[in-house]
Symmetry: C4
Subunit: 262 residues, 4 copies
Amino acid sequence: MRTLLALVALTLCFPAAPGLAQALSDVSPALLEDIALGSRILAEFGVVDGFGHVSARHPTNPNHFLMSRSLAPALVTADDIMEFDLDGNAVDARGRSLFLERFIHAEIYKARPDVMSVVHTHSPGVIPFSVSKTPLRPLFHNAAFLAGGVPVWDIAKEFGSTDMLVRDSGIGKSLARTLSDKPVVLMRGHGDVTVGPDVKIAVFRAYYTDVNARLQSQAIGLGTEVTYLGADEGAKADAINLAVIDRIWNLWKQRVQPGLGK
Amino acid sequence: MRTLLALVALTLCFPAAPGLAQALSDVSPALLEDIALGSRILAEFGVVDGFGHVSARHPTNPNHFLMSRSLAPALVTADDIMEFDLDGNAVDARGRSLFLERFIHAEIYKARPDVMSVVHTHSPGVIPFSVSKTPLRPLFHNAAFLAGGVPVWDIAKEFGSTDMLVRDSGIGKSLARTLSDKPVVLMRGHGDVTVGPDVKIAVFRAYYTDVNARLQSQAIGLGTEVTYLGADEGAKADAINLAVIDRIWNLWKQRVQPGLGK
Amino acid sequence: MRTLLALVALTLCFPAAPGLAQALSDVSPALLEDIALGSRILAEFGVVDGFGHVSARHPTNPNHFLMSRSLAPALVTADDIMEFDLDGNAVDARGRSLFLERFIHAEIYKARPDVMSVVHTHSPGVIPFSVSKTPLRPLFHNAAFLAGGVPVWDIAKEFGSTDMLVRDSGIGKSLARTLSDKPVVLMRGHGDVTVGPDVKIAVFRAYYTDVNARLQSQAIGLGTEVTYLGADEGAKADAINLAVIDRIWNLWKQRVQPGLGK
Amino acid sequence: MRTLLALVALTLCFPAAPGLAQALSDVSPALLEDIALGSRILAEFGVVDGFGHVSARHPTNPNHFLMSRSLAPALVTADDIMEFDLDGNAVDARGRSLFLERFIHAEIYKARPDVMSVVHTHSPGVIPFSVSKTPLRPLFHNAAFLAGGVPVWDIAKEFGSTDMLVRDSGIGKSLARTLSDKPVVLMRGHGDVTVGPDVKIAVFRAYYTDVNARLQSQAIGLGTEVTYLGADEGAKADAINLAVIDRIWNLWKQRVQPGLGK
């Protein structure tokens, strides 16, 4: 209904902007819906609060990506998704306000052709690790993707004293370099970025990075030696997680769309 | 109503599959309902998230057990319960997807004739203990069943580097051996398994193993000596817990079936 | 409506039991309601789960007290309240099941004429302190009532290895002796008991004992010296808390009676 | 609707009290609504429980301020807001009960002409820091406003053994002196006060002071060195937070007004 009204509004108010309709017309409603669901799922579980964002690479134009207008993640719907180029320019802004940190996404899509989705959070489990000398490591199999190591990016290393935000392409490039070929990078005093071959997996990784961080804090608190997943265990367990992701995604979907699927 | 529709659907769609109807026809609806309730209760309290499962031994055929098709625990209903033999084969799969780790259940039912229900969780309270040298011990009477000791099973001991999953009978047998005659076994970097003489008790144990683990973490954090329940206290207190289990089960039932019983 | 039906049921089913109606007829509906509200409030905030109970001394017969039949605290209504003498005997049981640990209440009412309400919980904040050598102490003014010291009662001291429960008058007497003239006593490996001059205050104390315990754990975790309220500060701050208790009680009431008062 | 009824009631019941209507008639409904929303938002997120309050300086009379009658923060509506002078006197009390600690607000408005809103909480994240020698410091950019240092005010320093409350102008002045030119002051064994150039920012600061305190506790618990935001980073990041505050405020507003804005 809301979508219908939005389309009517679009038709009525922007008769001269066929470019936009064309641009997003290449994108399946299912992908727009996944981006919106991912935002709302991470909000539902407290991995994001009023800040954070989920994006996807454009399915037919790999030099563009899709991301909500500036909006709290809990409120994002498919109608809020906009299209951007890899310099962070909106294809058709129409006065909508943009996320300042869209350069996180743009530069990672540039640097990592394998990445089809990017998530940025202020995950409360992760932030303590982002400011600590204690490395984040996987201690259970759902977080197996952490087994290759989790780099920590400190904006101050390259840019000195800043407002901590990834507000331009240069800062985004630096972050993408630290991420390297990994699925997760922590941002000192800020949060993290997770990436994946689709939206579900990038969201899954954002969720389980947060969970693993909390569990690792508790394990360290027990005061005795902690056994982490080995690199080989990590690789094997991650493959399985990816294979069963629909089971948890469908659950999460129902949590944020109470009227559906039940 | 949903059950009724499902039965109608079964009658309409599977006229040639009387075997299945026959197999589950020996099972009381109350038992199917308890398995489904147990799944949803553990999800409601965060003891399981998208993963984990509850099973019961078949009431008239001790070489079979009952367990949901592959589904997030919060979504399991009585209609989703399937029947398996102790090699983990579905009696009548009809294309439904199966939990990969059903061998946890199969091998414990084989090894432990006293066990009538098995629960597997990724309990967030428990995982830190599964990777720590600090043993899980009962510090309050509701977790008295832990007083006989809580073994930790490390899949790597016998199987080296794996994907951490109990994906066949051999691995299940190894886990069942470590469980031995205890009510709970921790799985390193994975979660736990609890067992009991009925579904309610196995679920109660999964819940209070999680609670006790969190409380023990906090008690250790206070930095002074902790007093645990003695073995004899544990045995005596456990007997009482089992006697009053309906009080908490009825509460939990209302939490996950808001329309009923109020 | 439920109350009305219950009364009708009473009239229809127990025409020969005028004694009961007479016994509870001296009790204002407001007091019965406060006992039920107190139970549901403590359940709402997780201070009790499936176990725990709230009682009040009988307003006109100081040798009797009022307490729910055996029921999870979240489910208690005014209709569930029964009357007991100070030996723990139900005045008119009519087949209803009784809380095993009613002797906690009976013996405290015997020993402490000033006490008009008793609450027993398995407060998750408190349990770690009940098994630790670290004493529970007030670190903020809402928990000022703890400033006189919080005794810990260990059932094993006097009774050796038990099932941990206060299942008779002798054990209840021992607990009441350790409580002495204080408002709170911890029970090793079990929970706590709080008392007060009315139901609201006993419930307030159960709630803030739990909150203070959690905050104290966190303060200790910071690793530097902690400043607690002095005894004199405690006495003065407690007087104020008691004076403004209706503000928080009215809030809590609305939380557990969503349809009312808004 | 409720507001309308209240106005009708006012008109009907207090025809002889035009002074009040006049006093609040200078205040926009939006400001009254923000004060009420701020109270309910902080309650929704557990930053306040039954205690705590949000105020705003009067928009046209800088020597007056606006604050709810004594009421649990979760229940405050625009109709509950009253007007006070800077000695803490109600302009038109009409028998409504007043917050005892309104002198916190009065004396800060006196001492800090830049402050347009004051929030007082018993923030559970903050209380452990208020009694610890460990200073609260910003470890992520949303709490950048803490970078100038967070003073701790101990009522006992100047007033000896008290009931811990800011119950008169003299105690309020002492607190305002310790706050000095900062945005946040902790109160030993009690909670905190945050201030800002408008209600949204003072509420934002109360929320993120609580969040930062919890994250800092966890970071300290990891047992290795913690990197905090530098003073210059803090100043720069705070400027950005203030610029994007509407994104999170609109989210919070929807959380406490479920029927609106969706």
